[in-house]
Amino acid sequence: MSVYLVAVRPAQPTDDYDLITAAHEVLGLALETAYEERRYLLAGAVDDQVSARLARELLVDPVLDTAATFPIDAMTPTDAAATWAIDVAYRPGVTDNEGESVRVGADRAGIRGLVAVRTLRRVYLRGPLPYDAVEALAYQLLANDLVEATLISLPDDTTASASFYAKLIELPAPQPARIAAVALRDADDARLMQISRDGVLALDLQEMRAIRAYFRTAGREPTDGELETLAQTWSEHCSHKTFKARIHYRSASPPIADDEPNIPPTIDGLLKTLLIEPTRAINPPWLMSAFVDNAGIVAVGDDAVSFKVETHNHPSALEPFGGANTGVGGVVRDVLGVSGQPIANLDVLCFGPQELPYSELPTGVLHPRRIAEGVVAGVRDYGNKLGIPTVAGAVLYDEGYIRNPLVFCGTVGLSRRDQHLTGIVPGDHVVVIGGRTGRDGIHGATFSSEELTHQTAERVGAAVQIGDPITEKRVIDVVLQARDQRLYHALTDCGAGGFSSAVGEMGERTGVHVELADVPVKYAGLQPWEIWVSEAQERMVLAVPPTTLAAFLELCAAEEVIATVIGAFTDDRQLRVTYAGQVLVDLEMAFLHDGRPEREMEAVWLPPAQRFEPEPDPDPLALRAALHALLAHPNIASKEPIVRTYDHLVQGRTVQGPLGGAEGDAPTNAAVIQVRHTGTAALATGCGINPRYGLIDPYWMALACCDEALRNIVAVGADPYKTSLLDNFCWGDPREPDRLAGLVRAAVGCRDVAKTWSTPFISGKDSLNNEYRDEQGQRVPIPPTLLISALGVVPNVGQVVTNTLQAEGNLLYLVGRTRNELGGSHYLLLQGELGANVPKVDLIQARRTFRALHSVMQAGLIQACHDLAEGGLAVAAAEMGFGSNLGLDLDLASAIKDDDSANDAVMLFSETPSRFLVEVRPHDSAAFGMRMEGVEVALIGFVTAEPVLRVDGVHGSEVVREPLAALKAAWQTPLREA
């Protein structure tokens, strides 16, 4: 076997200014030049002719590039004048999509004998650079040691690169398969815990004891595969043990407020009693599936719409690109797992402040800027390549996310109403399709159930992966065809826990037997337990009846999707896994799924101490400064630099995406997508997230988040009667009673919303243990974070409402009462304060408002509508002007308010929920007023021809007069920094 190098370089290399700038900003290095060369290693029956042909036909763009090919033992430098060369390649075993493409291309071109291909990038640097500086540059700016191998060499040191390349392309040696017994039956408690820790099993003592008892009764020791199976299935990630635990809740001191929520002292499962029960009680006719399947499902006419939001926090902390990449891939497979065609994505991202000084970066943590860049690139890469429009989302920046960023990925799916199948019959084949199985992603489920530390990267590096969106796209293509032809009985994705979870769950009610030696693997040397728990991406498991197996396999073969029968469903309620006939797992389904001892947990609420509530400054100069600063705040400012890199228009369904207005550069309330290409029904999605409220009280945060998500979609025309919610709780360690108490309060908030509004939760996910333990042992939890995602039906796409001002002379009404609720607001954040007066949703009033507003929209009485959120009335008013050439003239004295709100700063910036600013034509005002009866509404101004935001204060004098162009410029600050 020979190994060749093909070096492809631009005919006219141009400097990588991004790298040069970053090297200067981050490391203070003065690079003279820096540019990249692509390199390919080709191994197999390759000679001079073959390598030259591959270069010419596959690797070079004849208009842009030149190429040189060498056997790796006879290379010559491609730029001997450079000071340094840095080679970066994915480590062996990590997905190398480019390398795979070369193999496919060679095959199409009829070139046989290529055994392995690896791609790498080589960066050439010039400048007075010592080795240490180059090393810092390589690891801080170019490579992630977790998934990439790096070589820093002198450009003419071909010996060093040849030996590096030889290692990269080396194939893993086969190893004999070994199934080990773990000595558990006689282990004492200390030994049990050591086994759990050493194996990254994340099982606690109670659970280890239950396992020990099971195997004592069975009269044998567990295999490594059985212990792994139990660890995966019982992980927090897969079994949600905190949300199922019995919780004893109390408050450390008696509540002072008279609006303290009603929280029972003992809660038998947060999930069951606070989320599932209200949904069951509401049970609207259009609800098809809630909390049962991989995604919630609702009916829209003859269609079924599925919705799921997942998190991928820990992987994104360590390898931002791969973490976000596979986060998108995972949630898309969730929706595919209920036979849904993915039609829209949403992404909510929480990062540390981008301008954090490097000197303040904790050890072992990637800089927030690098995390943000990697995550955004990961979302873009996967979503764009799958052809799913990324239509909605949010980006938040807070110091609480420096060590532990949050990445929420959501997908909306579409099928016909009768296409959700779950009827597995004994005798059905177990078929795995899609990606091959490798050592990647082992222990993802258990790893996500642990806290992060400065050593996490070294310990569980294998849990982090790079995705292969095109393999997933092929899988989607065949699954949807198989769905339409009814070729399978059920399917699920291979997510956390790999086969052990997917097969174990599918066979729960029947029993199943799989043979792992038949699983297609990426390389030799995998142990049976590794195949069983690998979380290698882009795989689905299907139950295919014998009658349609041939048709299904033929369909997969025709589209080059690897499909393999690995076993069959049985009727013995036993999970049996073999490797070449040897038994790896033989467990009763009953023990696997119901044998885990439920936890009992303590929750102790520490009511917030009376916090300093700064006096809002109503001076017009201060108001003006605050308005500009709010619009420019990263949480409120335009996200256009990110949004433009996401494809939000693919599939031709996007009626409203993340940007709106005449120039397509103004904010929108919510995304609206058409359900079918022919038809009038549309869907709206919106999100509510505000961790600052949670720092004061997670109960009120939950209400505010639900209110915001619903506000968003009601504002564009969604029917509040046909709306459902998803919850995503990201919290610290629930074993700490104070963290758990906050979680309980947030879940109680969700319950109260669902019951009062009759708006069901249809799915959700919790990501706990979002804590970081630093070198000193100090534990830092993230701010309690709840993401609420809303999905609503817009009955007719013709009635979608914009938030952009429409016509001079139209009237502007403020819907809702304004209260003195600056606690947790962005206005106080500007002053570095949190405050105490957290916004409190009046659930009854909110429901009345949403329903009345929808009715006036249906009647065609609303020209434009914007919901009030971060930054309050002032920010919303400015944003309504950004998409038009019109202005607003407002009078705060006319607004409905509490006595203690009669302060211009409060009126402009309070974040009281359930409020909207709406534009109504003068001749519609009477009809509008009639239909809005029972809702607190006041006429507060009108649309002006001059593009200026002008506001008279509560005492009658002018307090704001700002050209909208200036305000828009502040809001577009990120565009100038990009």
């Binding site: 036909e57 208009v63 291309g105 199409r108 890199t645 494809d647 693919v650 998409g883």
Partner: protein, 266 residues
């Protein structure tokens, strides 16, 4: 025997092609009978290109675009469908490449092509955007009314279509650009607010030479463009629709599909 009277339009599928559904919907709305056919079915003989009136290569990331946008699908076409595709083009049947499809046609040498129409070496390319990243935005365009391009016949503009790509910067040597301009093969250009060819971002979203957004072959039956008519085939997909529902009655992208259908039914 096909009982349908509507012209059969082949909308090509391949691994990573992801705009086939909306492209087919637009072809149907224009009066065609769109069939989404996987390239492997053409290669295996299960479907025949010759049975179709027109071929559309939709957008996406064929095979992941890992070797350069459209490169691997171009190699695939050249090795597996060379003769049938050459015959299809020589017969004057319409071939439309949108976004990734345009990149495929260019990398396969079908665009800009030669005066006689046979497949040649790649002579132009679609390089990485000047701003170095993927870009999704609406653009304003004008068609050359004197171009032989059958797809842009009668549609001068300006009109709006969105782009969504990371590699859309049209690049060729000066002689090629001069020839394309002289032969009126530059069927579509990005224009600025004044309707002039756009030289700067964002009106020219990717830095294309001579504001080139789409080109055709000398015969005018093969056309590739970076913007997406398939994402502008309904009025409500346009950003101005929410502001101006009365005046926005149709999607600007439909004219391209209607021209294709009009040509094959004439």
């Amino acid at each position: 025997m096909h009982v349908q009277n509507k012209p059969r339009i082949l909308v090509l599928r391949a691994a990573g092609i992801n705009c086939d559904e909306e492209t087919a919907a637009a072809c149907e709305l224009a009066g065609g009978n769109a069939e989404r056919v996987h390239i492997n079915r053409l290669a295996s003989g299960a479907a025949r290109l010759d049975d179709y009136a027109a071929l559309v290569i939709p957008g996406g990331f064929s095979y992941g675009d890992h070797l350069g946008a459209g490169k691997l699908l171009a190699v695939d076409l050249l090795y597996r469908l060379r003769e049938s595709l050459a015959a299809f083009v020589a017969d004057g049947r319409p071939v439309l490449g949108i976004c990734n499809g345009f990149q495929v046609l260019v990398k396969a040498g079908l665009l800009p092509g030669t005066a006689t129409g046979e497949t040649v070496q790649q002579s132009a390319t679609l390089a990485g955007n000047a701003n170095r990243h993927y870009e999704c935005r609406w653009t304003q365009l004008m068609a050359d009314p004197r171009s032989p391009c059958l797809f842009t016949s009668g549609m001068e503009g300006p009109f709006a279509l969105p782009v969504g790509h990371g590699e859309g910067r049209f690049v060729a040597d000066e002689a090629t650009i001069t020839r394309l301009t002289a032969e009126r093969q530059v069927a579509l250009r990005y224009v600025d607010a004044a309707g002039q060819p756009a030289t700067t971002y964002p009106h020219n979203p990717n830095g294309s030479v001579a504001a080139i957004a789409g080109i055709c072959n000398a015969q005018g039956n093969v056309f590739g463009l970076m913007p997406h008519p398939d994402r502008a085939y309904l009025p409500q997909l346009h950003p101005d629709w929410l502001q101006n529902r009365q005046q926005r009655q149709a999607g600007d992208g439909m004219a391209i599909f209607r021209n294709m259908l009009a040509y094959v039914t004439a």
